[in-house]
Amino acid sequence: MPDLTPLWLTLRIASCATLLAFAFAVGFAWLTARFTFWGRDFLDAILTLPLVMPPTVLGYYLIVVWGRNGWLGGWLHAHLGLSLMFTWQGAVLAATVVSFPLLFKSARAAFEGVSTEYEQAARILGDNELRVFFRITLPLAARGLLAGTMLAFARAMGDFGATLMVAGNIEGKTQTAAMAVFDAVAAGDYTLANTLVAIMSVVCVTILVMTNKLASRGRAGR
């Protein structure tokens, strides 16, 4: 039985990243789905871009921005004495960036699929935009959002290139399961690699199946 620390770490990082990505993605998706403004399609495309970059390259740009001497990271370091580099928070940042586009795109499609008639009915029944969003739009878009969230979570779990660049590969601290697998493959230790992949797959399949089950119970009546 191999060391399972990387797995716990992965789950923690992926969960945090998915949560963060969810918040941002839902916000932007709502904005682009419900309002027509100049440059909307452009914004949409920009927000999808992280998907196009090879993760390592994305990691490189993340360092340029968030590194100790980066634009934002430099400021953080100088004024707050903080650095995201080589911390698990850094890993969360990287995983958030790589999984964000998946959630954003799914959420936008899901929001666009919600009939505006229901929203109008809710408005007449006294809801402000915020309440309409949380009580009508969000639940009616739940199926698409859930699919997007699962994609994002899986992607965050599997991320390797970007996380590695930002958080390093520090055993017990930032070494995620994906890195452990990569190391094993790179070192030619296929037994270890296969074991790790098997464990990861089982964990993932369990999570995915459970989410599906929960979701289909929630929508049983519909």
Binding site: I63, I170, F182, V185, A186
Partner: protein
């Protein structure tokens, strides 16, 4: 159609650290041998070996360490007798240009040194050499908590370049490429010299041309190019093999 095996040219799988110098050598080789097209496939030595093991149509394999080549030989992927060493590299300790804390191996223990970048010893040869060197000095244990392990030497270099770590272990060739941003603090002696081997792949359809390329690699011309990129000449084997007459190659 679309198969590399049908291509009359040569396909060379080479370690990523060789990419700049090999591209140059490839051009000059092509200039001397108009009929032969050389293509390169650069990646880490490990993935390259796996590709060969799975039947990638490669003619030549140049690795950055002996272990990987040993594995290839044991697996029977190499043409027996074709393996030769062609160049050397060395391990150096570098630090960002504007940082002056680290002046030698001993300084790594200082409190002001928070992070040290090393290639992952499990998979990166440079990391293995660095670890061995540190262990010999009794530094590996005390420094373990500061070590950030990179996926490759290039990443180790990247961390130093960006000033995220106070020091890192890379090859002299890596440091040579970024002279203006990093400073070489010390050359780290390794137990065995870092020697790059090259060999013809057993399944190659162009064994003659492959041999010719190996021959050219060890010619003075190619060695000069390697030297310019920070490598060191592998003189011992050079003298022994020059009599080999390369196919389609004008006598130097």
């Amino acid at each position: 159609p679309g198969q590399v095996g049908a291509d009359p040219g040569l396909l060379v799988s080479a370690a990523a650290s060789l990419s700049e110098s090999f591209k140059e050598i490839g051009r000059s080789f092509a200039a001397k041998n108009p009929g032969v097209k050389v293509r390169f496939n650069f990646a880490g030595s490990g993935p390259l070996l796996q590709q060969i093991a799975q039947g990638a149509p490669v003619d030549l394999f140049a690795s950055a360490d002996q272990e990987t080549m040993d594995k290839a030989e044991k697996g029977g992927f190499l043409l027996p007798g074709s393996r030769v060493d062609f160049t050397r590299n060395s391990l150096v300790l570098i630090t960002p240009m504007y940082m002056s804390v680290v002046k030698g191996l001993g300084d790594l223990k200082l409190g002001r040194v928070q992070k040290i970048a090393i290639g992952n010893p499990a998979s990166v040869p440079a990391g293995r050499y660095a670890r061995a060197a540190l262990e010999r000095q009794g530094l590996w244990e005390p420094l373990a908590s500061k070590v950030v392990r990179g996926i490759s030497v290039k990443q180790t270099l990247e961390y130093v370049l960006r000033g995220e770590v106070e020091a890192g272990f890379v090859y002299a060739t890596d440091a040579a490429g970024t002279k203006d941003k990093v400073r070489v603090v010390a050359e780290i002696p390794t137990a065995a010299p870092i020697v790059y081997p090259v060999a013809v792949v057993a399944s190659s359809a162009n064994k003659e041309k492959a041999r010719a390329f190996i021959g050219y690699l060890r010619s003075a011309e190619a060695q000069a190019i390697l030297l310019r990129h920070g490598f060191k000449a592998e003189l011992s084997s050079l003298s022994a093999q020059t009599k080999l007459i390369p196919f389609g190659c004008k006598d130097p």
